[in-house]
């Protein structure tokens, strides 16, 4: 397991937090130790890939951009401050790689954009924490609702809800102020609740 799932028992909300990698491994990677960099990849490869996929919704593109992210990270290891979190730094690089890819796609007039991904079926059917499967239909509805969010809202929603980042970390990754992030997250939740009202109403028995 490369992450800790913190369960806030008295509030009942599960939050995914990725345990940071040890400073010794980071120091070794900075001095050119490829095994140490491999350890960083093993720890953060999955969350970074998932994050990128949540932005582009194209798995093969997400894999390509994840590779680019780690190559760029290796090239710029010396820019990683000793007190910086590796995950925040990597997510920041990933975000820049995605943006550049989107700009390049627009320049090349490809039929790919962050807001119009290919309709790829979700593969995973792992049970939810309470033991019930999220149905395929619900998964697709959530995916569609997320795709319809604009880039900034989707970004903060992904980082906050899917990756458990604090506002401070998200601000470091995106360059946006905490005020803007809170506003975007609030608006994202309103839009999603509006689109998924039937499902949310069904889950809790209360108005969404």
């Amino acid at each position: 397991m490369n992450e800790l799932v913190l369960s806030l028992a008295n509030e009942g909300v599960s939050k995914r937090v990725y345990a940071e990698i040890s400073p010794q491994i980071v120091a070794r990677a900075r001095s050119g130790d490829q095994d140490a960099f491999h350890a960083i990849f093993m720890r953060f490869g999955r969350p970074v890939l998932s994050f990128i996929n949540q932005l582009v919704y194209d798995q093969s593109l997400a894999e390509e951009l994840t590779q680019e992210t780690f190559v760029r990270a290796y090239r710029n290891l010396r820019t990683l401050g000793e007190d910086s979190k590796v995950s925040t730094w990597l997510f920041g690089i990933a975000r820049n790689v995605v943006r550049e890819s989107a700009r390049q796609a627009i320049r090349q007039k490809k039929d790919v954009s962050l807001d119009e991904p290919e309709p790829i079926e979700l593969r995973s059917s792992s049970p939810t924490p309470d033991g019930n499967l999220l149905g395929r239909e619900l998964n697709q509805e959530i995916r569609r609702a997320l795709i319809e969010l604009d880039e900034d809202k989707r970004l903060v929603f992904s980082l906050k809800i899917f990756h458990g980042k604090s506002y401070e970390e998200i601000s470091g990754i995106t360059g946006h102020s905490i005020g803007k992030l809170k506003t975007d997250l609030h608006r994202a939740r309103i839009e999603l609740k509006s689109r998924l009202s039937g499902y949310l109403g069904g889950e809790s028995g209360a108005k969404a």
Binding site: F41, Q54, R75
Partner: protein
């Protein structure tokens, strides 16, 4: 704490973003307010749904991704940080035998040739003119006519025809020349070995290091060449000999440095 404030802060409470004092106030309010408790339950359901979706939609990197990354980062190997003293010391023990042997041999040659050149430099300073029976004291200022005087009336030693011929002892200049040639030959052999070793490793080295190495090598080669020319013009000058050997030594050091990367 009122209900409006409470409902605004529930998401922050869920994600631990609130100050502990405010968190406690909220929890206290939730214990006694059914409306806010209902809002909290709705939030739990909403965040639970999205968290489950996030976990379901996670994807694992493919098996070949690290291999692909590794092949790219090999080409952009970051410059290693300066090794510590102990790393240098321990590193020398792991250097390939060839390079260690080369280094040791060159060290011996350099020491020998360097001492010889130094000896002759010091001796030359103290005994400038050749010894002549006509000159009672050593004159440091060379007098051009003196060698002629030495040659003509200088008494030759008696030679006993029955005894075997005494081999003439090489002059100081000849000794120096011999030492320098031997040292230069040994340096050149070491350089050939290192050159072969570097050629094998060149594809593994980063382009910047190769460029720097080639630039430094060009300067050292120029230094060797100009020392050789100077030595041809002044073959008896031990200082020039020392310059040449120093330049060779620098070239070997440079090559060892790149070969050991």
């Amino acid at each position: 704490m009122n209900c409006a404030n409470c409902k605004e802060e529930l998401v922050e409470l869920a994600y631990g973003e609130l100050d502990p004092r405010i968190s406690q106030e909220l929890r206290t309010h939730l214990e006694s307010c059914s409306s806010c408790t209902l809002a909290w339950r709705e939030l739990e359901a909403e965040l639970g749904l999205f968290t489950a979706y996030g976990q379901n939609s996670e994807i694992q990197p493919s098996a070949g991704m690290w291999t692909a990354i590794q092949s790219q980062i090999r080409e952009i190997e970051p410059a290693p940080s300066r090794p510590t003293f102990w790393q240098n010391l321990l590193g020398s023990l792991t250097v390939p035998a060839l390079i260690r042997q080369t280094a040791f041999a060159v060290l011996l040659i350099a020491a020998s040739a360097g001492l010889t050149a130094y000896y002759f430099t010091s001796r030359r300073a103290s005994t400038d003119a050749p010894i002549s029976a006509r000159v009672p004291t050593v004159d440091f200022k060379p007098i051009p006519e003196k060698p002629k005087e030495k040659e003509a009336p200088a008494p030759t030693p008696d030679i006993d025809e029955s005894k075997p011929k005494i081999v003439k002892r090489p002059s100081d200049d000849e000794i120096l020349d011999l030492q320098v040639r031997r040292a230069a030959r040994e340096y050149e052999n070491a350089i050939k070995l290192l050159d072969r070793s570097i050629a094998k490793r060149k594809s593994e080295l980063d382009p910047d290091s190769i460029r720097q190495y080639e630039a430094s090598l060009a300067m050292v080669n120029e230094s060797i060449e100009s020392s050789r020319i100077a030595l041809r013009e002044h073959p008896q000058d031990p200082l020039t000999a020392r310059f040449l050997l120093s330049a060779y030594s620098r070239k070997v050091e440079l090559m060892q440095e790149i070969a050991m990367r």
